[in-house]
Amino acid sequence: ACSNKGGSEPSASPTGTTDSSPSPSASAAAPESNDDGLFNVSDFNNIKTNEGEAIAGGTLNYGLVSDTPFAGTLNFNFYSGQPDVEVLGWFDEPLLTWDASYVYTNDGAATYEVSEDGRTFTFTIRDNVNWQDGTPLTAEDWEFAHEVIGHPDYDGPRYDGGMINVQGMAEYHDGKADKISGIEVLSDKQLRITYIESNPSLITGGIWSYPLAKHIFKDIPVKEMSASAAVRQKPVGIGPFKVESIVPGESVVFVKNPDYWRGEPKLDKVVLRVVNPSNVVQEIKTGGVDIVGSFPVDQFPDNAGLSNVEWLGAVDRAYTYIGFKLGTWDAAANKVKPNPDAKMSDVNLRKAMWMAVDNDAVGKQFYNGLRWNATTLIPPSHPEYHDASNPGITYDPEAAKKLLDDAGYKLNGDFRTKPDGSELTITFISMTGSEIAEPLSRYYVQAWKEIGLNVQLEMIEFNAFYNRVGDTGEDDPSVDVYQAAWGVGIDVDPAGLYGREAIYNFSRYASDENDRLLAEGLSEKAFDKEYRLKVYKEWQELMVQEVPVFPTLYRAKVVPVNNRVHNYYIGDGTDMYVYNIAVNADKAIAAK
């Protein structure tokens, strides 16, 4: 399913992935499936086990798995698609890095101090941080990035909530001010930013930490920046590798940046090229690529035993869910307008539908355990916040039937009618385009039929899908149930998806209790982690009670890494860095 990741913060990892969570296990060998052919993400390493002695230099081949060429907007300030991030990760990086729970650390190219009220941040850029063309990186570059993103002519997607939170940004954006009042350049290497509001999510991804090289971009009109050669052909970053050559859309050759602030990279060269998902297995088997950015999870079981790679795995920061339309979007008031008479407004009906589906079996059968039954709306990629003790609603078709019987949905022939005796036909829409979307959706329909619900499935393409669930605020009244997926931001705050004022709250659910919990999660008090944990635990509980949507599957991602590769890792907070990646042989090992 199309996963629209919540957080605005791109990943800092060279793999460009948005996953996380160091896996608890550290078993050295490649994971084995258990007897029934199932895998468990906790059995995977997320750091490559090194074998033998690394050689000096060497070339690493990286496969960017994508069925489209990468767009080539090679600057964090402008890019918009996943493929570009994977390219970016090799030659550029954010000034701030974060730890396993996504809180900014002081290990990056810049360090920070927070004021007492939590609204003013003072950043200090390390002295040895230079652009790859040799120009030192300055605080002005950082300020410049904010100015460009806030500029009315800016055409990228980065002008978001985090940006608006910078004091004076809105005025600057509207042209009422020619400076952003909240940003202050203290010295060449020191910058101070004042935010309007301080909340727990500010230090987990609320700061824009990608500078823009002013000495290169200052003469380019903002409108033309994203199409300029400085973005597309000769991009310059601060990362461990430098772009040497680009074949637009298909490949990039990087060479090491000896001037990298953390130290000289081990590899001489990295060759990145786009690999079609349908060929990725062949490329890995033949050693055509050493590593890939992502791997189609359905092809993993057949290749788990490949002799030339080690599989790394991690929990993905995303979940699939099924949503129920409970109202509409009130465009005038800019908020959700719940409709108590909606077809799906009976919580028993929704619960019964959750009960009717066996996601455990789905995860095992369709994904060999690499996706598994989801319980709450905060996935285990945020292990502290994810309430493992909450079982959600478990599969029990008999209970579901009883629930429906009790709620007045009487069986009349094959199907149940509404409590008022009228016919009940539920329209369920789902997106085409992903490997397993279709049988999965059909499985749900079948499961609902088992408990006597007449659900009609429409598989539609993603534009039409989001149009109908109401991404522009115009909900299609014929839709009752939908299946979609969300990526979760690095901060857990779910208000962007479930708040009363969130247009992406497609279920159009709102309640006072929900409002209260979401507000508390971002309140001053929530800086106290224990408090925040409690709030979100309550929220997860509320969602299981109310079932405006129910999560279906959590996900793991797995990637193969050629055995010659050293120090490769996936996920955040591993204390591993790109410049350390090395190889132990000249050529990739091919599978036997």
Binding site: S80, E244, G249, N279, E283, T286, G496
Partner: protein
Amino acid sequence: MGKTITRRFGIMVPQIILLSILVFLLAKQMPGDALTGLLDPSVDPAVIESQREKLGLNNPWHIQYWDWITKAIQGDFGQSFRFKMPVLDLIGERISNTVWLSLATLILTYLIAIPLGITSGRYNDTLSDRLITGYTYLGFAAPLFIFALLMLWLFGFKIGWFPTSGSVTPGLEPGTLAFVISKMYHLLLPATSMALITTVTTVQLLRSEIIDIKHRDFIHTARAKGASESRIYNRHILRNALLPIAAFFGYELTGLIGGTIFIESIFSYPGMGELFFSSILLRDFSVMITIILLYGIASILGALVSDLILGLIDPRIRIK
């Protein structure tokens, strides 16, 4: 000749305008637009709405069309939303790949078709003719993409003779010999896979033409002059038999356009086909419209080229 060309261009203009209107209407009818995919809860919907407004996506179609066509006439086909660059530059980046692929396929198509067609037509009803005819039937019936997939699997991965993706080995300096060779090397498998399938119609056409022509009276005349078989084939039959193939050239081009879409997708060869797909999926309308128009123009030019070739080699067709 100049007159024909100007007249043809005169006809082309309304055709292209009509086509652009059709495509514009289609684009307008598609659910969603370029901003649909931008589901980011941290971005204020108002910002997205203001972008829509800025891009003119909220205007009625005829106003959008008028804006578009007036600019297009001045050579500005707009900006790709996804790539954030002018459509023409974007297409310029991709088109050379597709052109090379088409050209290689075209050349291979004829390289295969002409000897096979001649053998089959000249020695019709012999064993080799039957084999060739059998091949053409199979080629006609075999789905191009399955065949190409198998070729990729076999020669790309199993035997490993050919590169399996991309248009050039990464890191080569454009313009160098190594670069050109690498480009050709990358072209070979996709172009051959496609040519082997698309050539069959040409083989069949050539065969039936030759069989037809070899019974014509003027062939008797040539024989009666004492011309040898080889001279008869080379001088008399072949030229006449190639006429309809030249006439077909324009359609061959149009057919290629369809074929390259499959081939590009199978061989991960970044070209126009892929660009078209992603632009239609992501509602990058300016790109989509320009590509369709470009292909429309290409097929008109193909037909024109066909006619010109025909006019050059067939004296009966007079081109004023």
